[in-house]
């Protein structure tokens, strides 16, 4: 394995697969216990059940909110109402990939590329930089769309109709750009071992229009005190192990893009954006700044990147591999064991797992009207939580 080695727990804790505890660049077979604090219910408190199916949430999830009335004492999140059992072991790499792409459809590029990097690590394929840069362009385009959705949901929570519609307009433009460049609006069937089908031609100029529009919306939101007041001091995150924009908004420099060379971000002079407030406003700011930054990254990638197509003999390939990348919501990790071209073991750690833990901690002591702002600001996807790959 190129990026991970077995060793004592070292560096920050990423999470557990069924077989290993995963750290910054080590894995260990003694599983780290996860301590989740459960609040004691006082006589004046009751549980307000929200979900699993409600129009206020994009996905099905069960939320039990312990409250004496307005203040939220604690909140528990049950992602398993829509638990999907997805069997990928025993399948060829290509068949497994069809299912991996659909673990979180909205972050499909991140999931498929991370899985493929783990596979390529296992079977020791040296993928050309051109293809890797093309994959970075996919992930950064996906990040732009994902962050736009989160900001749209924040504006929606504040009842700001005009920015909601304008953000929705440009999010749809990004979906159409992805559809034109790859043939599919969610990057399905775009990536394969050592290859990519994402066209870079005219990508920069198409995204430029989106970024110009976003700048105007962002400037307007930054001058809207009603919007900013709803985010500031809401859901302060102090979790030292948090991930993604939630970490970087809390002055925690966690970013797989400059921690592991799984993808060649070093060729693009990447640096993480950090803020120190830790609240929903900070997470909004990180996401806004990352939209501009992702576009700058894409501008640095050559328009011909990824145009070559190579064939690899997968049927005789065997090995074990691990990879971690920075999805729009944070650390995404895959481990795979390949035997004669078939997946015989797989492990996955999603950023939403850590984000739910951080969300729960940050919600304690807030009030009901803060809930939607805080929930949306973490960018949690239940689809990548309620999934069983065994």
């Amino acid at each position: 394995m190129y990026w991970y080695e077995e060793g004592e727990p070292d560096g920050r804790f990423i999470g557990n697969t069924k077989k290993y505890s995963i750290y910054g660049s080590h894995y260990n077979s003694s599983i780290e216990p996860i301590h989740e604090k459960s609040a004691e219910r006082k006589p004046e408190e009751f549980i307000f059940a929200y979900g699993p199916s409600t129009g206020g949430l994009m996905e099905s999830v069960g939320l039990d909110i312990l409250t004496p009335g307005e203040k939220i004492t604690s909140i528990s999140v049950d992602p398993n109402y829509k638990l999907r059992k997805i069997k990928v072991t025993g399948m060829s790499i290509e068949d497994a990939l069809l299912r991996i792409e659909r673990i979180n459809g909205f972050h499909s590029a991140s999931h498929s590329i991370c899985f493929l990097r783990a596979v390529e690590d296992a079977i020791q394929i040296d993928v050309p930089d051109e293809v890797q840069l093309n994959r970075i362009a996919q992930i950064e385009t996906e990040r732009i769309r994902s962050h736009l959705l989160v900001i749209q949901k924040l504006a929606e929570s504040a009842g700001f109709g005009v920015p909601v519609n304008q953000l929705s307009l440009i999010r749809e433009k990004v979906s159409r750009i992805i559809g034109t460049q790859s043939g599919h609006r969610y990057f399905f069937a775009v990536n394969s071992v050592g290859n990519s089908r994402f066209m870079m031609d005219k990508l920069q100029e198409k995204l430029h229009e989106v970024i110009v529009d976003f700048r105007k919306i962002y400037d307007g939101l930054m001058e809207s005190k009603l919007f900013l007041n709803r985010l500031q001091n809401n859901g302060i995150n102090k979790d030292p192990e948090s991930t993604g924009p939630a970490a970087r908004g809390s002055n925690i420099r966690h970013d797989a893009r400059n921690e592991l060379p799984v993808l060649p971000y070093d060729l693009l002079d990447y640096f993480p954006i950090i803020r120190d407030e830790g609240d929903a406003f900070s997470r909004f700011m990180i996401r806004s700044d990352e939209i501009f930054q992702s576009f700058d990254i894409i501008k640095k990638i050559n328009a011909t990147a990824g145009s070559e197509s190579m064939d690899y003999d997968l049927e005789k390939s065997s090995g074990t591999g691990m990879a971690r990348i920075e999805s729009p919501s944070g650390d995404l990790f895959y481990s795979v064991e390949i035997e004669k071209g078939n997946v015989v073991d797989i492990g996955m750690i999603s950023p939403s797992w850590r984000n739910v833990l951080s969300f729960r901690k940050s919600m304690e002591g807030n009030i009901f009207t803060d809930f939607h702002f805080n929930w949306e600001s973490f960018g949690i996807w239940i689809s990548e939580l309620g999934v069983d790959l065994s």
Binding site: S60, R84, R102, H107, Q166, R185, S224, S383
Partner: protein, 208 residues
């Protein structure tokens, strides 16, 4: 900025809504439209048998390419029963039975100015009690079986059940379909269905 400025910003932006369905789709991703061709398909979901394409099973994985290609026809849906009562006002309740998130965001995209489903009298509702139709997305999951049944029971008559996407209809490549044959009125093909397809299906379902 005073908040009233947002109104002016909105007006200055102009009308961005497309003329669909009076005119065809402005821009559509090819691998979300009808597939046609002949020869070997190498289909992982048996969506192509004897040269015939079944939109209820297709996950648009492109393994059939180049023998089979997308035609650009977005009308990949079936409506077994039209309900004209909903022509002026059609409230839909989305229910995620086990979706990957792609169907969820494509359905959500119908409120984008390009489509603006509200101009056509179609609205989301946050409760099944106010819903004319329930839109089910994703594969069958044990945990969502009861919420789906309760949501359906909470709806008043007449009511409609719409299955959206290959997962909900046939299970696609991820599992079993959300409902059995005969338990729904509309099937919308796609993985995920394109917003144009969803909008066209909703309009057809209410008799347009």
């Amino acid at each position: 900025m005073k908040n009233g400025i947002w109104f002016l910003k909105g007006v200055r932006k102009g009308v961005k809504t497309e003329k669909f369905p009076k005119t065809g789709p402005v821009e559509i991703a090819p691998w979300s439209t009808e597939i046609k061709g002949s020869g070997e398909a190498n289909c992982p979901t048996d969506a192509i048998t004897n040269g015939k394409w079944d939109m209820t099973k297709c996950i648009f994985c492109r393994r059939c390419f180049p023998n089979y290609e997308p035609t650009g026809n977005h009308e990949i849906f079936t409506v077994s029963e039209k309900m004209h009562q909903f022509r002026r006002s059609f409230y839909i309740y989305p229910l995620d039975s086990g979706a990957c998130g792609a169907c969820n965001t494509e359905l959500h995209a119908l409120t984008a100015p390009q489509y603006d489903m509200h101009r056509l009298g179609i609205f989301f509702t946050n409760t099944p009690r106010h819903a004319d139709a329930i839109v089910v997305m994703g594969v069958w999951t044990k945990g969502m079986e009861e919420p789906l049944k309760r949501a359906y029971d909470a709806m008043s008559d007449p009511k409609m059940v719409i299955l959206m996407g290959a997962c909900a209809i046939s299970g696609g490549i991820m599992g079993e379909g959300a409902l059995k044959s005969g338990e729904y009125n509309v099937e919308i093909g796609g993985c995920p269905p394109n917003p144009y397809t969803i909008l066209a299906a909703l309009l057809r379902a209410r008799g347009d």
